[in-house]
């Protein structure tokens, strides 16, 4: 039960600064995900919260108490590492019991807590095994078990799923979510995988080069990205980003990208002839029956480049007015290169960015 607060937190390694005055509040019981490309400082922030790295400037507060100078063990945080960091010479039981033993808990107390955690994580049959005798997913669970036996006030996860294969990752992701719903502990989760971020988070923090780009709910950062980087980083397949020019004639406005002109339904705070970057989410483009739901001006005939069927969905690469784009379409689209096809664009979801500052223009 604890709120975590970062106030102007700075981290320097020697003379290189990697975190530049970060401000962030993580509410009690919240599941927050720090996401960003490798090397953007996610782990560094997490390790500062854990107390494994010193804080070069600013203040970190847990449960409203400054903890910059508090020993890691007294911060009451538990961390799960990417490579699990299990003690290889100890059994699963001993791995989970270690922190309790260090804290001086009684034997019965340790036995009770470890068995309880093992029950939750379905590890009871493996308590006498060594980590080397477990599968990747089981090791992952032991690492989580080691964290939950301590009943910490904050969980810290540093890319805990990235050593698992895709299928197991999806499964463990769901278990993590369930675990959080059950335990309701403040959780800070670091990943470079935006899918994990989108599916797990109450709140996503997008980082780049040690700067926070945006903080918001998964829907917010997806639909209303703060800048071009966030728009490009969140979403798979990635957003279509095309240079264009905005036009305003009286009440109606439009945007022209090469030979393609799209009407812009909403009144936007843009000048006539302003150069912009236009962002179109692949899932904002529709085909087949749903096209008829769009007004006629929102429908366009495009040339197919290639269609890929992914089970129930299809990815379509196409050109429209010399612009190459990708659409994520429902159903199985059977189309050959050079064929024409009618697509509907959900123009309410158009995004505009300033080509210079790359900030979103709403």
């Amino acid at each position: 039960m604890a709120q975590v607060e970062l106030r102007d937190v700075v981290k320097k390694f020697g003379s290189t600064q990697v975190v530049h005055g970060t401000n962030l509040t993580i509410e009690d019981n919240e599941f927050i995900v720090l996401v960003g490309p490798s090397g953007c400082g996610k782990s560094t922030i997490l390790r500062m919260i854990a107390g494994l790295e010193s804080v070069s400037g600013g203040e970190i507060r847990i449960a409203d108490k400054p903890i910059n100078e508090v020993d890691p063990v007294d911060r009451n945080v538990a961390m799960v590492f990417q490579n699990y960091a299990l003690y290889p010479h100890m059994t699963v039981f001993d791995n989970m019991a270690f922190s309790l033993k260090m804290a001086g808990d009684s034997k019965q107390e340790i036995l009770r807590k470890v068995n309880e955690a093992a029950e939750i994580l379905e590890l009871s049959p493996y308590l006498n095994r060594k980590p080397a005798e477990l599968s990747g997913g089981q090791r992952q669970r032991v690492a989580m078990g080691r964290a939950i036996v301590r009943q910490p006030s904050v969980f810290l996860f540093d890319e805990p799923l990235s050593n698992l294969d895709a299928q197991l990752r999806t499964q463990m992701r769901m278990e993590l979510k369930k675990l959080h719903l059950k335990m309701k502990t403040t959780t800070i989760y670091v990943t470079h995988d935006q899918v994990e971020a989108m599916t797990l988070a109450d709140k996503i923090v997008i980082l780049k080069d040690g700067f926070i780009q945006q903080v918001g709910s998964p829907v917010e950062v997806f639909e209303r990205p703060a800048n071009r980087f966030v728009a490009g980083f969140i979403g798979n397949p990635p957003i279509n980003m095309l240079p264009g020019v905005f036009h305003r004639e009286g009440e109606s406005s439009s945007v022209t990208m090469g030979a393609l002109t799209l009407p812009v339904p909403e009144a936007r705070n843009l000048q006539d002839n302003q150069r912009v970057l236009v962002g179109i989410r692949p899932d904002a483009i529709k085909a087949g029956d749903s096209v008829t739901r769009f007004p006629k001006e929102w429908r366009f005939t495009v040339d197919v480049v290639v269609a890929e069927i992914l089970g129930g969905q299809s990815l379509l690469e196409f050109t429209a007015g010399k612009n190459t784009m990708i659409a994520e379409l429902e159903g199985r689209i059977l189309a050959r290169q050079g064929e024409s096809m009618e697509l509907g664009f959900d123009l309410n979801r158009l995004l505009f960015f300033d080509p210079e500052t790359e900030l979103a223009l709403y």
Binding site: L52, A85, Y87, S99, M102, R150
Partner: protein
């Protein structure tokens, strides 16, 4: 995991036989050379140790060597003239135990200090490892000078205004921890009982059933020797006192000086191999630095401890040049079986008895090394 047979079956029998033959032919020269120069000569030494080659005509062109069975061994352990060898053997035991404790203990402490990355870590690593690059003769010469009655170690206290030490490091003939060789058998049994009881007590916490299997025989052996020890046969027909000769202490210090840097390097390599994450995890779990080493790092480098024990104990068994350079034949009290072997064989020309000493050393070394080889071979197989 698929067994090693699988690929062989796939390749087929003729191919496999061909591989075997060429492998055998490639190894043959080494097999022949090792067979002759290692195992052949061990066998030959053993045969000589069963003969009476020695005495005045030992260096004759065709010396007479007649078979005398285990007479040489019996002589060494119980004979009237074997007292020197027995003292050497006692020295070797003390020497090994203290070298192991000293070099492993100091090496471990140094490694733990350097593992925490103090300022100038690489400088100190080189400094501590440096003695290892010296030959024993050089180490011996340095320490002989350091331990000279008027020099080195003895005048150290004068730098802080104290009177100099007067301890005759290398020429002392005093001995402590004395025991009578006649009572060798009861002493050995007491030791066995002590080891069993300590081991049993140590296991008592985790595995009481196994602990009893150790404790009960321990107590029974110890108790019966205490009650009926007089009935045991005596090793000698007269009293013969042996103990830890205080001059050996200087030699042990020199060896520890030379080898603690080596054990430090072994441990440091082991500690460095432990991932930082594990250390971080232990820290978050509430382990202090001391507890990290106690519960995480030391158990993880157990194979290194075992290797260090094996390496150091067989070095201490073979120890010759350092002792030769420091006290050598000058102070007979500090002797060592290997030195004794050399003097017996090549100075006294008593080839048969020298060979017997060699075989005794060989057997002691083998009792250390063979279990180690078996266990490491098993580990490799099970991987």
């Amino acid at each position: 995991m698929p067994g090693p047979v699988m690929p062989d079956q796939a390749i087929g029998t003729s191919m496999r036989n061909k591989d075997r033959i060429s492998a055998f032919l490639t190894l043959l020269p080494s097999i022949i050379l090792i067979g002759i120069f290692v195992y052949g000569f061990i066998g030959n030494t053993f045969w000589i140790s069963l003969s009476d080659w020695g005495g005045a005509a030992a260096l004759a062109e065709n010396p007479v060597k007649s078979y005398v069975g285990f007479a040489n061994y019996l002589d060494l352990f119980t004979g009237f003239l074997g007292g020197g060898f027995r003292q050497d053997l006692v020295n070797a035991v003390f020497y090994s135990v203290m070298l192991l404790a000293g070099a492993i203990g100091i090496g471990l402490i140094l490694a733990m200090l350097l593992d925490n990355k103090p300022r100038g870590e690489s400088f100190f690593r080189t400094v501590f490892l440096y003695p290892m690059s010296l030959s024993f003769i050089v180490t011996g010469t340095i320490w002989r000078w350091m331990l000279a009655p008027q020099g080195g170690v003895n005048i150290l206290p004068t730098y802080v205004g104290l009177p100099p030490l007067r301890f005759p490091w290398l020429s002392s003939t005093d001995a402590i921890l004395l025991f009578n060789w006649q009572n060798l058998l009861p002493i050995a049994l007491y030791l066995v009982s002590l080891v069993l009881i300590i081991w049993g007590l140590w296991r008592l916490k985790n595995n009481p059933a196994k602990a009893l299997v150790l404790l009960i025989p321990g107590v029974v052996v110890g108790g019966s020797v205490w009650l009926w020890g007089d009935l045991l046969p005596q090793a000698l027909f007269m009293e013969e006192i042996h103990g830890f000769n205080t001059a050996t202490f200087g030699i042990i210090m020199a060896t520890i000086w030379q080898y603690s840097g080596y054990t430090m390097a072994l441990y440091l390599a082991g500690f460095t191999g432990i991932s930082q994450d594990l250390r971080d995890a232990a820290m978050l779990d509430g382990a202090s630095t001391a507890k990290y080493y106690r519960y995480i790092a030391l158990p993880m480098v157990k194979p290194i401890t075992i290797s260090a024990i094996i390496i150091l104990s067989h070095i201490s068994l073979k120890m010759f040049d350092l002792i030769f350079a420091m006290t050598g034949p000058d102070n007979g009290q500090t002797g060592h079986p290997a030195l004794n072997m050399y003097l017996t064989t090549f100075r006294a020309n008593d080839f048969a008895r020298g060979a017997a000493i060699a075989i005794i050393l060989f057997i002691i070394a083998a009792t250390f090394i063979i279990p180690y080889m078996i266990s490491s071979y098993r580990q490799r197989r099970s991987r």
